[in-house]
C-alpha cells in the first residue's frame, strides 16, 4: 500500500470506521450514564436558584479564587492547550473543509500563520503540563494509565499535524495519512477513556450545579 493509498483509506473507510465507533461509543456511554438515574429528591429545595446548573457549566472553567497563583501551570497550561487545539481544529481551512464535507456547512478559516502559532502554543503547553505531571509527586501519584493514554492520544494529532504542515519528513503524503489516522485513533478511544469529558463534562457540571443549588450552594 502506497502512502497515497493509505491516505485515501484514511479519508474513506478509515474515517467511516472511526466516526462510526466514536458515535456508537458516545451513545452507549450516554445511555449508561442517563439510565443509572437518581432517586427523586423528596426534600424541598433550600434555595430557589434557577439556572444554577447552567452557570456551573461556565464557573467550573474558571479557577477558584487563589488557585491560579497556587497552580499556574495547571491553569495557564490547560487554557493554552485547550484553546490552541480548538483554534487548530476549527479554524484551519483544511479542517473546516472536512467539517463541510461531513455536515454540509463551514465557515471562514484563519490565515495559516495564526493557526501555526496556536498549534505551537498548544504543543508547548501540553509538554509543560506533562512535565508538571511527571515532576509533581502528588500529580504523579494521582495519574493512572488513562491519564497518560489521554495525553498521548491528544498530543499525537498535534505533533503529526505540525510535522505534516512543516514538512518535517520527506514524504508529506505519509505524514498527512498518519495525521488523519492519529485523529481517527483519538475518535475511536474517546468514548471509552477520560477523553469522554468533551461530552460528559456538560452533563456532570450541569447536574452538580443543579443539585448543589437545591442544597443551598448555588453557583
Amino acid at each position: 500500500m502506497s502512502a497515497l493509498e493509505l491516505l485515501t483509506w484514511a479519508r474513506g473507510s478509515g474515517l467511516a470506521l472511526a466516526l462510526g465507533l466514536c458515535l456508537f461509543g458516545i451513545i452507549l456511554r450516554l445511555f449508561e450514564i442517563l439510565s443509572l438515574g437518581r432517586k427523586t429528591d423528596l426534600a424541598p429545595a433550600r434555595t430557589v436558584t434557577p439556572g444554577s446548573g447552567w452557570r456551573t457549566l461556565l464557573s467550573r472553567s474558571l479557577p477558584p479564587p487563589g488557585m491560579l497563583s497556587r497552580a499556574p501551570l495547571t491553569y495557564v497550561g490547560g487554557y493554552v492547550f485547550h484553546i490552541g487545539i480548538a483554534i487548530a481544529v476549527f479554524f484551519f481551512v483544511p479542517h473546516i473543509e472536512l467539517i463541510r464535507g461531513l455536515l454540509g456547512f463551514g465557515w471562514r478559516g484563519l490565515p495559516n500563520l495564526f493557526v501555526d502559532i496556536a498549534s505551537i502554543a498548544a504543543i508547548l503547553a501540553m509538554l509543560a503540563v506533562l512535565a508538571g505531571r511527571l515532576t509533581d509527586p502528588v500529580k504523579r501519584f494521582l495519574s493512572g494509565k488513562g491519564d497518560w493514554l489521554a495525553w498521548g492520544l491528544t498530543f499525537l494529532p498535534l505533533a503529526t499535524g505540525y510535522a505534516a504542515f512543516h514538512h518535517l519528513a520527506e514524504n508529506y503524503t505519509l505524514l498527512l495519512a498518519l495525521h488523519i489516522l492519529s485523529v481517527e485513533l483519538l475518535l475511536v478511544v474517546l468514548p471509552f477513556s477520560k477523553l469522554f469529558h468533551v461530552v460528559g463534562l456538560f452533563l456532570a457540571r450541569w447536574y452538580n450545579g443543579e443539585i448543589a443549588g437545591r442544597k443551598g450552594v448555588a453557583s
Binding site: 485515501t8 479519508r11 470506521l17 462510526g20 452507549l28 445511555f31 481551512v93 472536512l98 484563519l110 495559516n112
Partner: protein
C-alpha cells in the same frame, strides 16, 4: 562540435541547426536541475557532444499515445526534442516508418547490438495475453524479452510507471506496471499523464552524460524532477497560507488567481516538476490555467477519491456508517439500560430493611 563523430549527439544537434548558445543553455538547465555547480555545464556539454547516439527501443503497450504526443508534439522542436530525436530510436511503432515484420526486425537488430535503453509507455495486461499484442506477441512476453539485455529501463507515463488508467478499479485487464515485472535491473519511473518532455530528455541526458542513472525516490522517480510537491512550488501557495481560496471556478477568488485547494487541487500530495518547468516551452501548467492538480504522477491517482473535493474531505459518504453507529448505539444502549433497570428493581425488591433491634442484637 566540429570534431565529433557523425554518430555523436553533438554532431546530430549541429546538423539539426541547434546553435552553440542554445545547446549550452540546455546544459545549464540540466546542471541547475541536478543541483550541479556552474563548472559542470562545460563537462555536461563535452560529454553530450561526444556521447554516441544511444540506441533506444520504445515499446508501447496499454496506452493512449499521449506520452509520445507530449514528447514529440507539445511544442515546436527544441533542444529537448532534438536530444530525443537524435538518440537512435531504433523501434517505436508509432513513429517509425517500418511496419509489420520489418519493424519487429528493427527491434531484434537493436537488441542484438546490445547496450540499449528500453523505454516503455503503457501498462502490461496480465489478465489475458490477448488483451494487448504486438505482431502476435503478448505485451508481457515482448517486455521480458526486450528488457533482458537492456542497459536500463525507463517507464514513461503513469501507466507504465504504476499501471495508470488501465489499472483503475476494477482493473479489467489485470494491468500492472513495468517495475511489477522487471526486478533484475533498474527501472526509472517517469510518471505523469502525460509526463513533462524535459523530464524524459533530462533522464536520457543524465544517462548519456554520466553513464549512470539519476538518484531515484522511493517510487523510482528521478529526485531532481519529483523531489518536491506541486503545492510547495506553486505560485499560488502564498494565497493558501493567507487563507484566500477560490470557492468555485468562476468566483472572484478564481479570477484573482487564489488557491484552488477547496476545488480539489491535489498539489500537496503530488510530486512533479509542473510548477517549475511548466508545459509548452514554459508557458503554463494546469494550476496556472485555473484548474487544480489531479495528481497524475502519483500511483493510482484515478482511484484516490473525487477530483473536485478538497484533499481533507471524506472520499465517500459517511451516512451509512453514521446511521449504523447511531442505530447500534441506541439499540444496545437501550437494551443495557433496560437490563440495568431490571437489576435495580430486583435489588430493591430483595432489599431487607434493617431495624434498630437488628443492629443491637447480639449474636
Amino acid at each position: 562540435m566540429e570534431s565529433q563523430s557523425k554518430n555523436a549527439v553533438g554532431a546530430a544537434l549541429e546538423a539539426a541547426g541547434v546553435s552553440r548558445r542554445e545547446f549550452l543553455g540546455f546544459c545549464a538547465t540540466l546542471a541547475a536541475a541536478y543541483s550541479l555547480p556552474g563548472t559542470a555545464v562545460d563537462a555536461i556539454a563535452a560529454a553530450l557532444e561526444k556521447a554516441p547516439r544511444a540506441s533506444v527501443i520504445w515499446l508501447s503497450f496499454q496506452e493512449c499515445t499521449g506520452c509520445t504526443e507530449s514528447l514529440t508534439r507539445s511544442h515546436s522542436p527544441t533542444v529537448e526534442g532534438l536530444i530525443l530525436e537524435q538518440v537512435s530510436l531504433d523501434y517505436h511503432h508509432t513513429l517509425q516508418a517500418a511496419s509489420g515484420e520489418a519493424a519487429e526486425h528493427a527491434r531484434e537488430e537493436a537488441m542484438r547490438a546490445g547496450s540499449y535503453l528500453l523505454v516503455v509507455d503503457g501498462s502490461v495486461p496480465l489478465g489475458n495475453p490477448g488483451f494487448s499484442t504486438i505482431a502476435g506477441v503478448s505485451n508481457v512476453d515482448m517486455l521480458m524479452e526486450t528488457a533482458k539485455d537492456a542497459a536500463a529501463v525507463i517507464a514513461v507515463g503513469t501507466c507504465a510507471a504504476y499501471g495508470g488508467l488501465p489499472a483503475a478499479l476494477p482493473n479489467p485487464t489485470g494491468a500492472v506496471s513495468v517495475s511489477h515485472l522487471i526486478k533484475d535491473k533498474p527501472v526509472i519511473n517517469v510518471p505523469g499523464c502525460p509526463p513533462i518532455p524535459v523530464v524524459i530528455t533530462g533522464v536520457l541526458a543524465h544517462f548519456l552524460t554520466f553513464g549512470t542513472l539519476p538518484e531515484l525516490d522511493h517510487l523510482g522517480r528521478p529526485k531532481v524532477f519529483y523531489g518536491e510537491s506541486i503545492h510547495d512550488r506553486c505560485y499560488r501557495r502564498p494565497f493558501y497560507d493567507q487563507g484566500k481560496f477560490a470557492e468555485t471556478f468562476d468566483d472572484e477568488g478564481a479570477r484573482k488567481g487564489w488557491c484552488l485547494y477547496k476545488l480539489g487541487c491535489k498539489g500537496p500530495v503530488t510530486y512533479n516538476a509542473c510548477a517549475t518547468t511548466k508545459w509548452n516551452d514554459g508557458v503554463s501548467f494546469p494550476i496556472q490555467s485555473g484548474h487544480g492538480c489531479l495528481g497524475c504522477s502519483e500511483p493510482g491517482f484515478w482511484d484516490q477519491g473525487p477530483f473536485y473535493k478538497a484533499l481533507s474531505m471524506p472520499t465517500a459518504s459517511m451516512q451509512k456508517a453514521v446511521g449504523a453507529a447511531v442505530g447500534a448505539g441506541v439499540a444496545i444502549g437501550a437494551a443495557m439500560a433496560i437490563r440495568n433497570k431490571a437489576a435495580m428493581t430486583a435489588a430493591k425488591a430483595a432489599h431487607e430493611p434493617v431495624r434498630v433491634e437488628d443492629l443491637e442484637r447480639k449474636s
